[in-house]
């Protein structure tokens, strides 16, 4: 009984928000649950209470933020699902990518580099659009692997590749930012 609070804090992130563990997620419901929980546990709701309540509120609220951020972002959610299923994405240690993928990466980098050098805002924005579509497609595949086929090795590979795509997105973002300044 006395460990009840800890038990709840240790529930997996999906259970915390009353959701079934899956990559395809009802984001509206996730958000609603997150807000409902924060409405209970946020430090602002406990500011007038004693030290114990304030400390608990900070722990709970921190935990809810962490869980929400993990589930809200597709890549973080996929990583977390892999972890729940005893698989890891090994992004730092496993760097064996398929030659086709690496070739594709080089082409992306070249295109971004050219657009940057030419200070071509429209080109960069076009690339950003293409990249968004590509990422969306890959996320579809990731969903298949995680939710339908439950092929965690394939999912892990998809996560590793998506991380590269994510880096490209950042690079375009920074290039756009630099151009606008």
């Amino acid at each position: 009984m006395s460990n009840m609070a800890m038990f709840s804090l240790e529930k997996n992130h999906f259970a915390l928000f009353g959701l079934a563990p899956a990559y395809r997620l009802d984001l509206t419901q996730l958000e609603q649950s997150y807000r409902d929980i924060q409405a209970q546990v946020h430090p602002d709701k406990h500011a007038h209470l004693g030290e114990v309540e304030r400390r608990l509120a900070m722990q709970w609220s921190t935990h809810a933020n962490e869980a929400y951020q993990t589930l809200r972002q597709p890549l973080a959610r996929a990583r977390y699902l892999l972890q729940l299923n005893g698989a890891e994405s090994d992004e730092n240690s496993n760097t064996a990518m398929s030659p086709a993928f690496l070739m594709e990466q080089m082409e992306w980098r070249e295109a971004i580099g050219d657009a940057k050098a030419a200070e071509a805002l429209a080109d960069l924005e076009h690339l950003a659009g293409r990249l968004r579509a590509e990422i969306r497609q890959r996320e579809e595949k990731l969903q298949q692997a995680l939710d339908v086929e439950r092929d965690f090795a394939a999912a892990a590979e998809q996560v590793r590749e998506l991380k590269f795509m994510e880096k490209l997105r950042e690079e375009i973002h920074f290039a756009l930012e630099a151009l606008e300044n």
């Binding site: 006395s2 649950s33 409902d36 007038h48 004693g50 300044n181």
Partner: protein, 621 residues
């Protein structure tokens, strides 16, 4: 039979239940204090009916101070000892303020934060700010007729850890209990959101005296969410004054002015700026100390031209914030204007053009932040359940650690919702390395030298291992005020070190206590009396809270647990009758310990109840 009591008109029937709490807008140019009275947020005026307190402090040779209008009046006469815009120096070193030229102060380079030399001795910006807060506290206590339970103090969203810590230190020095440091734009949105029942994406454009903030907020179903924030902590209305001042020098061929003349012309420049809000042109006249007369005509067209780059400087962070929030101008439902400087027509025009809509101006841009802060203070003090809304704030700057080669590894990225904690693992660089230096920095740049250094501490006693074998887990925790604490732990040996990030120039508890003592004339008696009152208020509050919790969720306890809690409540009640602050404190802490697991169960239940509705929906679908 007891007679029925009837309260005087306008007074609450049960004043003892209402905890006195205020919202304070500690501004660069002006400060305000507001409170919620009969459910309405109002600014508290001074005895002459003025809402604004100029953020000006004058130090006199006898050690006394003048604050506000009295000090402002002496600005030209006694510029060295009259401190204006102290907020700009909060948590800032000499190198940070090097860009701020033509200031009539004698700066003293102290470790981390600059200090100012006055006739009353060397003063830190924290002490100057504390004088302003003291004046506001006195105004509030006089006007409300009692001691304050606490205050919400607003800070620019873009303030970094050092600046926030300095603000909190100033409040403590002024004897204020800080319920929360609240971002100014969020406070403004609270004031607007509640008054207008707004839903959607809002931009808060806040051009104050010395700082510019832009925040993107989402208001929906009672939740205020800061999606992104950006700004410039060294850009504000003062810079517009300064442009006018420079223009006057150009027009008249004046140079090398005395501090007093500089102050005089800057004051005239400010007046001209305010005139141009209502008139197409204004005449700037002054007689300098050498008898020379200044007389020039400034038109609003020229004013717009000489300040165009300043106006544009506000639009760059605005664009960045929109991009961080992944939004375009078409998504913005309204633009809330905050800060007296937004009254300038060229600002109104530029913002209107940028967003393609008229900015919102229904609340006084000088008061809106204080009004919102008061509303939040009322909730935090427990006067109102606050079920109606929730503020989910973010940190404005990324927090990270120095790694090999002077590079920054970000641990918590900017715009993360607070409170937030994140841990990252690091390892040793050399064989047999037994200590690790942890350097905490804040900022977006990749090089440590381009970021702000917050703290350095060492993790010692790591058992000698091969390079790369140690596993040091560094945990960052940012609380709801946006203040950081960092701890480090070596996993194999369990060696631990932690630091509450007190930036190198933050004040220690001891220093604050010393300053408090020094400022008290009847030091000992006052301190004891105050401490007793504080403990009594705290103890009473805890008793009240525990009693309410027992009434609400008592069934979560078995008889033995309940008995123990009641026993400690009784013990605390006994100490409250006496006059020993330490005894009250000990009894209150004992009660706190006894209720720890109860509090955990209650929190757990509230979360389950919050989700109960969804679980049903899930079963149905």
């Amino acid at each position: 039979m007891a007679l029925l009591q009837i309260a005087e008109p306008g007074l609450s029937a049960a004043p003892h239940q209402h905890r006195l709490a205020v919202g304070i807008d500690l501004g660069t140019t002006n400060s305000l204090v507001a409170t919620v009275r009969s459910s309405i947020s109002v600014v508290l005026n001074d005895e002459d009916g003025r809402a604004l307190l100029p953020s000006v402090v004058r130090y006199l040779a006898d050690g006394t101070t003048e604050v506000g209008y009295a000090a402002q009046a002496m600005q030209s006469v006694d510029p060295h000892n009259t401190v204006v815009s102290a907020k700009r120096f909060m948590g800032r070193g000499v190198s940070d303020i090097a860009a701020i030229v033509n200031l009539p102060y004698q700066f003293v380079d102290a470790p981390g934060m600059v200090q100012l030399k006055t006739v009353a001795g060397v003063k830190s910006p924290v002490e100057v700010s504390a004088e302003i807060l003291k004046a506001l506290r006195a105004r509030a206590e006089k006007s409300l007729g009692g001691e304050l339970v606490g205050a919400v103090i607003t800070v620019p969203a873009y303030f970094d850890d050092a600046q926030r810590q300095a603000t909190k230190d100033a409040a403590r020095l002024a004897g204020l209990n800080v319920l929360r440091l609240l971002n100014e734009p969020t406070a403004a949105a609270v004031a607007y959101g509640l008054d207008n029942a707004a839903e959607g994406i809002y931009v808060v454009y806040d051009l104050g005296g010395g700082t510019f903030d832009v925040s993107i907020l989402r208001l929906s179903r009672g939740v205020f969410e800061v999606m992104a924030t950006n700004g410039d902590s060294a850009l504000g209305g003062d810079d517009f004054d300064h442009r006018i001042y420079c223009w006057v020098l150009e027009q008249t061929g004046l140079f090398a002015l005395s501090a007093q003349d500089t102050r005089l012309l800057l004051t005239r420049a400010r007046e001209a700026k305010e005139e141009l809000t209502f008139h197409p042109e204004t005449r700037i006249t002054a007689v300098l100390s050498n008898g020379q007369a200044v007389d020039v005509l400034l038109t609003s067209k020229i004013f717009s031209e000489i300040t165009l780059s300043l106006v544009n400087k506000t639009l760059a962070p605005t664009r960045k914030a929109l991009r961080d929030a992944n939004l375009g101008v078409e998504d913005v439902k309204g633009v809330v204007m905050v800060g007296g400087a937004t009254r300038m027509p060229q600002i109104q025009r530029a913002v209107g053009e940028f967003f393609g809509q008229e900015p919102l101006n229904n609340l006084d841009p000088d008061k809106v932040v204080a009004l919102g802060a008061a509303i939040q203070a009322n909730v935090l003090a427990g006067n109102r359940s606050g079920d109606e809304w929730l503020l989910l704030d973010v940190i404005p700057l990324s927090l990270g650690l120095e790694t090999m080669g002077g590079l920054v590894e970000k641990v918590i990225t900017r715009n993360s919702t607070i409170p937030v904690a994140r841990a990252q693992e690091f390892t040793t660089y050399k064989d047999g390395q037994t200590a690790m230096s942890i350097h905490v920095v804040q900022g977006e740049r990749e090089l440590v030298s381009d970021c702000r250094s917050l703290a350095k501490f060492e993790l010692r006693g790591i058992p000698p291992m091969a390079a790369g074998a140690a596993r040091v887990r560094v945990t960052f925790q940012v609380d709801a005020d946006g203040l950081l604490s960092v701890s480090a732990r070596e996993k194999n040996s369990g060696v631990e070190a932690s630091v509450m990030v007190k930036p190198s120039y933050g004040l220690s508890d001891g220093e604050i206590a010393d300053m408090l003592k020094a400022s008290q004339q009847h030091a000992h008696d006052d301190m004891t009396a105050r401490s007793l009152r504080e403990q009594q208020v705290d103890g009473g509050r805890i008793l009240e809270a525990v009693a309410a919790a027992l009434a609400e969720d008592g069934e979560l306890l078995n008889d033995a647990e309940r008995g123990k809690i009641e026993e400690r409540m009784a013990a605390l009640r006994v100490t409250l009758e006496g006059n020993a602050p330490q005894a009250i404190k000990n009894a209150a802490e004992a009660l706190n310990r006894a209720t720890e697991s109860f509090a955990g169960r209650r929190m757990n239940r509230s979360v389950q109840q919050a989700l109960a509705g969804h679980k049903l929906e899930e079963l149905e679908s």
